[in-house]
Amino acid sequence: MILIHCPYCDEKRPEIEFANAGQAHIARPIDPSGESDADWETYLFIRANPRGRHHERWRHVHGCGRFFNAVRDTVTDKFETTYKAGEPRR
């Protein structure tokens, strides 16, 4: 059970308080109707799935309730950093 630093609570809390919410920094297009089928597919389904440095979202669902971003190494499972939603990509 990994420990995750919640940037809002500013402490490390156990994984079972959190829900992973997939890849980070995939913004919903402002005007979806203007998107091509290909662009829409990319938004919906295409994922980086890197071996190594990965930007992902978590929600401290059984805590402060906030979604936030994290950079984690998918090979070691170690977090590099976590930061609040809306902050620039790290």
Partner: protein, 168 residues
């Protein structure tokens, strides 16, 4: 007429007494979920001071998140719910029950299913967390007394789980 209506609770009203710990159901109380971008707006509406740090609780108000507070007051207490300010005040008085876990083994018993380090959980701290798979709000009222708030429908399960842990 309301006094004629019986309340039905999901857990026994007689406390569970085990070695070093007593588990009992707290009486009815008023509960409000408070949400706002700026704490000041809520303070203006409620005329009370709000704790600013997540996990802090003062005068019955716990800060659970950056824009979320949890107010508990004695039964019958009311607060203004409508205001011109961008705040959300929602009555959740009957959403939860509160179990009082008291005694020298209180923290130990809670840690049977709660993954937090409650030895290092200061008096006055409050947080939403989890007991095995059930979400709870834990408030440390005193060195040897915790309040555990959980949604009613989970009450029966939680009662068996926590009293089991207490009896071992």
């Amino acid at each position: 007429m309301s006094e004629a209506l019986i309340r039905y609770e999901p857990v026994p009203e007689t406390p569970c007494v085990a070695a070093g710990v007593t588990i009992s159901l707290a009486g009815p109380m008023q509960r409000f979920a408070l949400r706002a971008r700026r704490a000041e707006d809520l303070e203006t509406v409620l005329k009370v001071r709000l704790p600013r740090h997540i996990g802090a609780s003062e005068a019955g108000i716990a800060c659970l998140g950056p824009d979320e507070w949890y107010l508990r007051a004695e039964a019958g207490a009311t607060v203004p719910t409508d205001s011109g300010l961008p705040v959300a005040i929602t009555d959740v008085s009957e959403r939860s029950i509160c179990l009082v876990i008291e005694g020298p083994r209180a923290a130990e018993i809670l840690m049977s299913g709660c993954p937090l380090d409650l030895d290092n959980f200061a008096v006055g701290r409050a947080t939403r967390t989890i007991y095995e798979t059930v979400e709870v709000i834990i408030i440390r009222e005193a060195e040897d007394r915790f309040h555990v708030e959980l949604w009613r429908s989970f009450g029966a399960w939680f009662w068996i789980a926590i009293t089991n842990a207490a009896s071992h």
